[in-house]
Amino acid sequence: MKFFKSALRVWITVASLFGFLTGWAVLAHSPKPQPYMDPSRATLGLDPVPQFSDLIGGDDGLGGPRITRTVRAFTPRFRTAGS
């Protein structure tokens, strides 16, 4: 029984080591991942995030900044077509 336990430990150790080395070898020889975009364009041309100061329209006299916004209203066109 004791011999059987020792043999099982050795078998598990050898099998684990073999699996680890096999995995290592396979990954070492696999193709390298390609960049998903042209390296020359790797830096995205995002617009700068607006500064908070850009949003401040002025002081409302109450001690705090007043944030104003520009409303770009939907402008439908009057159109005559026949009814």
Binding site: F78, A81, S83
Partner: protein, 307 residues
């Protein structure tokens, strides 16, 4: 300019207004339009017009609004020499226009025999009006459709409602438009005229001072009856969809009901009618579009005025 859009009268209603109370004005104008649709629609069994049509052959008391539109209809029937005639309803139904255009497009023509409708209805000027008691007498067999004139009249009245809340406003009911005042910093209103050959594009932009702009078109409300393409502009002389050299006629006039009825009459009657009506009624101007996309106007209707 603030805008408000919704659907009524089987059309897109677009309102624009400037001023402090536009939100309340839009709601008031919308309420008016929806109430007026309930009154004037021939497609609603419960409408006042449907009740009047069922009461042909007897004197019937009607609301001041319906009385006014019928009175205007009689005036313009005479002014257009009968080319505008609301009594063509049986002809319209015989051509297949028995339900609203939305339903017609979705479900097709009703399979009702044309013989179901009277072949020749009484002339519209047999209509009698009792101004003192706001009563109407439709001759036996007369059936009325106030579709176009009612839509123009409603657009003008809705603009008047909206003007109480705004400094400048415009109401468009499916292209029947009425404008009051001018947008801030402008001397008029831009109104695009749709190309009747291609609804996705405009053929010209009109610069309107104030008042009404209305277009009648044979290309807009069309359907198939058997293998025939039908449209909703009935020529009262033949009882059939009108044969006309123009695809659409746009009329500018001080009032929307006037513009609506004259646009219809000019489109049905063609160039000679246009010549006569514009000479007799100097307050109106028209612009017609033919099948080649040429524009024709009041003064030089024999020559295209825009390429």
């Amino acid at each position: 300019m603030e805008y408000y859009e919704f659907r009524a009268m089987n059309s897109v209603i677009l309102m624009g207004a400037e001023g402090q109370g536009t939100a309340a004005g839009f709601e008031a104008a919308r309420s008016f339009i929806e109430a007026a649709e309930e009154r004037f629609s021939r497609f609603r069994e419960t409408s006042e017009l449907s009740y009047l049509n069922r009461s042909a052959g007897q004197w019937t008391s009607v609301s001041p609004d319906l009385f006014e539109v019928l009175d205007l209809s009689l005036t313009y029937y005479r002014a257009t020499g009968g080319l505008f005639a609301p009594s063509i309803l049986p002809d319209l139904q015989r051509a297949g226009y028995t339900r609203s255009m939305d339903e017609l497009r979705a479900q097709g023509v009703d399979p009702v025999s044309a013989d179901h409708f009277p072949s020749r209805a009484p002339a519209f000027d047999s209509l009698r009006l009792d101004h003192a008691r706001s009563r109407v007498f439709l001759s036996q067999g007369m059936q009325i459709d106030l579709g176009g004139i009612a839509k123009g009249w409603i657009a003008e009245r809705a603009a008047e409602v909206l003007s109480a809340y705004s400094t400048a406003c415009a109401v468009s009911a499916g292209g029947d438009m009425f404008m009051i005042g001018h947008p801030q910093g402008q001397a008029g209103w831009d109104v695009a005229l749709e190309d009747p050959r291609d609804p996705a594009s405009d053929i010209i932009t009109l610069w309107i001072d104030q008042g009404a702009v209305v277009t009648s078109s044979v290309a807009k409300r069309t359907w198939r009856q058997g293998n025939q393409l039908r449209h909703h502009l009935i020529d009262p002389r033949s009882g059939q969809p009108a044969q006309t050299p123009w695809l659409s006629v746009t009329v500018l006039a001080p009032h929307a009901a006037l513009a609506e009825t004259f646009a219809k009459a000019i489109l049905i009657g063609g160039p000679r009618t246009a010549d006569r009506l514009t000479r007799e009624n100097t307050a109106i101007k028209f612009l017609a579009v033919d099948a080649d996309g040429q524009l024709w106007n009041s003064a030089h209707h024999k020559e295209p005025v825009y390429a």
